[in-house]
Assembly symmetry: C2
Homo-oligomer: 574 residues x 2
């Protein structure tokens, strides 16, 4: 494997862009070829930086700015022998001639390359509105943007911010700007925050935002920016309201930066990203691309997909760098898009596909909604969480998962992502060997509960109905609420028959075995017990409401802003 | 699937023992058969209780005793229609007659059964020493033991405790008794605490114990208990020391309680547990066994093994209960034995096999020792952790893992256990799709680093040497320490050649390319970079020290109490 020096003319590998996988590619190329000339061209002042840390830097949670500079030019030169050229912007590429034109403070050069790795990243989406160029309207892509925003936030007299877009970045800024003492209005076009979550989980996040004083406006678009003397002083929303503000942060997501690639004739894919193969090779010989500008293969759908996440970018960078240096590399694995965000005291994350995305991809997608605790209930401080696990009814294969709650959300999400990665069936969750001691989990972890419920259904012990399906269910159905009188006192479903689990065996004659029954409790467990009793007593059509009243409640709360059929749910049995 | 009543004579299912899977079996049996008569015989006063919570109850971290009673007799009667008989001790079983004899306050009965589920659990190991029956010498199996110990700990004037045995339970008691203000001496026969960990990880736990004032005596046995007026007032240790104390807690592990089963002629296995098949059926028709008294199939070795853990006990209980009621059930999955413990500010856990156990099982076991941080270093509060990952060199299959550190140990352990469960190769860790946001992880998680290192080795980019192998390595080796002058100032390996990574390319002529080299840095990353440089410059035999000086240091510290070859390591290059 050793490559001795002088075996041939040294290869020149040029990497364009340090962030989004470029730095990884350069470092990896050096691992494979000590003799290659490796040039890293970066238009910004830094080789690379931790862009995921920007909201926390603006919010003052990260106090040392230098810590965000994870890879310094010095280190790249000294450790890796990489010729780092910051302040160098590539303006065009000629794949046939294997050259590129690069602009810098001293003028413009033509640089030849044997292999080229593009890591252009993605640019913030900016709405076509007058005033977006105002000095107090921010998009945040690099450290200079972060510095500008941080200075604006900390300026005396600044008291209110509008954040447009309630995705991961928008939510992190909402928390961080609140942390800096600002009043925050969060504007989101969709009827919910965090589009990676289904509505009944997203509502938990929205409530957490409100609980911490964020003025959340879902189903609302930004219509205009009111600029006086060049500075925006108010925003105009689609509901007609005009909100005075001191600054605006645009967090509308990103679009792959493909201009250079497209101009050079590189193929772009259906989602607008650069097309690459398993070694991150583009359609042009010798040219690789990595990071937020490329289309990865989705691990569940197998389809090309944009995935602006640091993890895949780093992995892709390693592979491109290796292949560029050695003409061979391991294949890039398909990606699941596991993502997570902390929003004040709550954590929310998702992996793989949601229900709708799974159906669009052709799966017979089903979902379980399961409440659980981080650790054993008898040990103090157990924080509640809600899991939604999506699987294919035909193959039982796990397709995706969403988790919202407190401590331990990240753990469950990572375990689910790992299970999906290895092709697990939903039923397999029942037998996971998870670490249990009182501070860390339960003998029956929420993940086990998901597996138990699924396995029970697969084996015909019960049938699951989701709150959403229940809402759409018409006709003659008996809803049996088996909670306790204390729980009913706080409300039940309209028309529900109340009969606690302890009473059920004695009062089963009050139910009609020939008519369908849906069993309901708080979270789903007692309802399942009731279902089993009824099934064995000859009731032919009994279904268990997955997630119980917690799920109904979440859907109802989510429904306030969305077009779900919650009203049906609440009125169906009247 | 529905079973109507009156289809046949109701089956009587008797469950013996509520803890350790018995309660799960009874509840599950009811799910499958509404008409069965289900009797739960428990010799103690409770159906079941959270025995994993006992140390935290004694230590005052769990204040509500009732919370430990997770399954009350009332609930079992009302919800599950189970005839709970506490204070009932089974004294003999006649499998041929399908009867058992049970003793209770009112006398003795013979009870017939159609199916019998045994959940006898495991009993604390008690040394054969005079004085073990003294009122201030404790073994803790049930809540009454816990109450007695708690009262003793909280008694005025009690200032010192000896804990014998430094397994999970011993360590939990050590922390909890310190929490109650006692001085604690922890006595362990082995040269290290926590035998589930390899020495270089266990040493971190031992240091944490010392840091919190626990007097740790490894390599020491309890030789005698000095009892005055019936009460033990001192212990005599194998090193001759006599330590005055107020109470003694025996935490020497457990042995399967198999007397009833053996007397009834049930087959016992090589490890002394009850032999069961995949449905938890014993060798006697109609008799099942679950929990700490049975032999499970180990997920890695495929061999029968004792595994006194709550998770497998619960799962086995479900399966036995289902099969006892319905004559069919899913198979019990093989178990990995994932376990975890919190010891003051540190967390330690293991899953699958350690290096020695893996070699004994016939694997070509190799290990990677990788330091890492819970989350991105640029975000405040990242706690360090150490991972040791064991894999088979022939198949690359993951065999086991150990993790010690702060926040996030449980997450990495659960992900590793899940990966092992689905047959992952060590290289697969490189492409796990883990959730990354600054508070939760890194774009390159410690688990990814393990995968990267393994993959690099598999592809011939470098060869790994462990600190233990280095210690045993004789002869003519050049140890190259590529850390910085500041780091060398705190010490390096004797005879090491110091040359920072930045200097290496310029000073490589000082090394002999014909002689073997081992590259060393703090954690292994820079050493790998150095290895790559040397390999490409024609050095034929270069190995990277996995875990770097952190690993050497851990082994050296562990060596203080163990018979490892640390001295060799420190002297080999003189």
């Amino acid at each position: 494997m050793a490559r001795s020096t002088g075996a041939g003319p040294a290869r020149r590998i040029v990497v364009v862009g340090g962030v989004a996988g470029g730095a990884s590619a350069a470092a990896r190329a050096r691992r494979l070829d000590e003799t290659a000339e490796i040039v890293l061209l970066e238009r910004g002042p830094n080789v690379s930086f931790a862009n995921c840390g920007i909201p926390y830097y603006v919010g003052g949670e990260i106090t040392d700015r230098w810590r965000l500079l994870v890879a310094t030019p010095e280190r790249f030169r000294e450790w890796f022998g990489v010729d780092v050229r910051t302040g160098h912007e590539v303006v065009s590429i000629d794949p046939a001639a294997r050259t590129l034109r690069v602009r810098h403070a001293g003028g413009e050069d033509v640089l030849a390359w044997d292999r080229l790795v593009l890591a252009p990243g993605a640019a913030p989406v900016v709405p076509r509105l007058a005033g977006v160029g105002s000095p107090n309207v921010f998009t945040v892509r690099d450290l200079r943007d972060a510095d500008r925003l941080k200075a604006a936030v900390e300026r005396a007299g600044v008291g209110h911010a509008v954040i447009v877009g309630a995705g991961y970045i928008g939510l992190e800024f909402a928390e961080m700007l609140r942390r800096q003492g600002l009043d925050v209005t969060l504007v989101e076009r969709l009827p919910q925050v965090l589009r990676t979550l289904d509505p009944e989980l997203a509502v938990r996040v929205e409530e957490e935002l409100r609980r911490h004083g964020v003025d959340v406006r879902t189903g609302t678009t930004l219509e205009g920016l009111e600029a006086g003397t060049g500075v925006v002083h108010a925003v105009r929303l689609s509901d007609g309201e005009v909100i005075d503000t001191d600054l605006v942060v645009l967090a509308l997501g990103v679009k792959p930066e493909t201009r250079l690639a497209a101009d050079a004739g590189l193929a772009l894919g259906p989602s607008g990203g650069i097309v690459v193969d398993e070694f991150m090779r583009t359609s042009a010989p010798g040219v690789y691309a990595v990071g937020d500008a490329v289309e990865y293969t989705h691990a569940v759908t197998g389809k090309p997909t944009l995935m602006p996440l640091a993890g895949p970018a780093n992995r892709a960078g390693r592979i491109a760098g290796e292949h560029a240096a050695a003409d061979a590399a391991p294949s890039m694995s398909p990606v699941l898009g596991t993502s997570i965000v902390r929003v004040f005291g709550i954590v929310a994350g998702a992996t793989g596909l949601g229900v709708e995305a799974a159906r669009r991809a052709g799966f017979v997608a089903r979902a379980l909604f399961v409440p659980g605790n981080h650790h054993a209930g008898y040990y103090p401080g157990a924080e509640e969480m809600w899991l939604k696990v999506i699987y294919d009814d035909a193959t039982r294969r796990l397709l995706g998962a969403q988790v919202v709650g407190g401590e331990g959300v990240d753990k469950r999400l990572d375990v689910l992502a790992t299970a999906i990665r290895f092709g697990a069936r939903v039923d397999d969750l029942a037998s996971l060997d998870l670490a249990y001691a009182p501070p860390f989990g339960s003998a029956k972890d929420p993940l086990h509960m998901v597996g138990f419920i699924a396995e029970n259904e697969r084996r015909g012990l019960h049938r699951i109905i989701t709150a959403e399906e229940l809402a759409l269910l018409g006709g003659d159905v008996q809803i049996l609420d088996v909670r306790t009188p204390l729980e009913w006192a706080a409300g039940t479903l309209p028309g529900a028959i109340t009969m606690s689990l302890a009473e059920l065996r004695g009062r089963v004659g009050e139910l009609d075995a020939a008519r369908p029954v849906v069993t309901v409790c708080r979270g789903g467990q007692r309802a399942y017990y009731a279902t089993r009793i009824l099934r064995q007593l000859g009731f032919a059509d009994v279904r268990t409401l997955t997630g119980g009243m917690l799920s109904v409640d979440a859907l109802a709360r989510a429904g306030a802003g969305s077009a779900t059929s919650t009203t049906n749910l609440m009125e169906m049995t009247r």
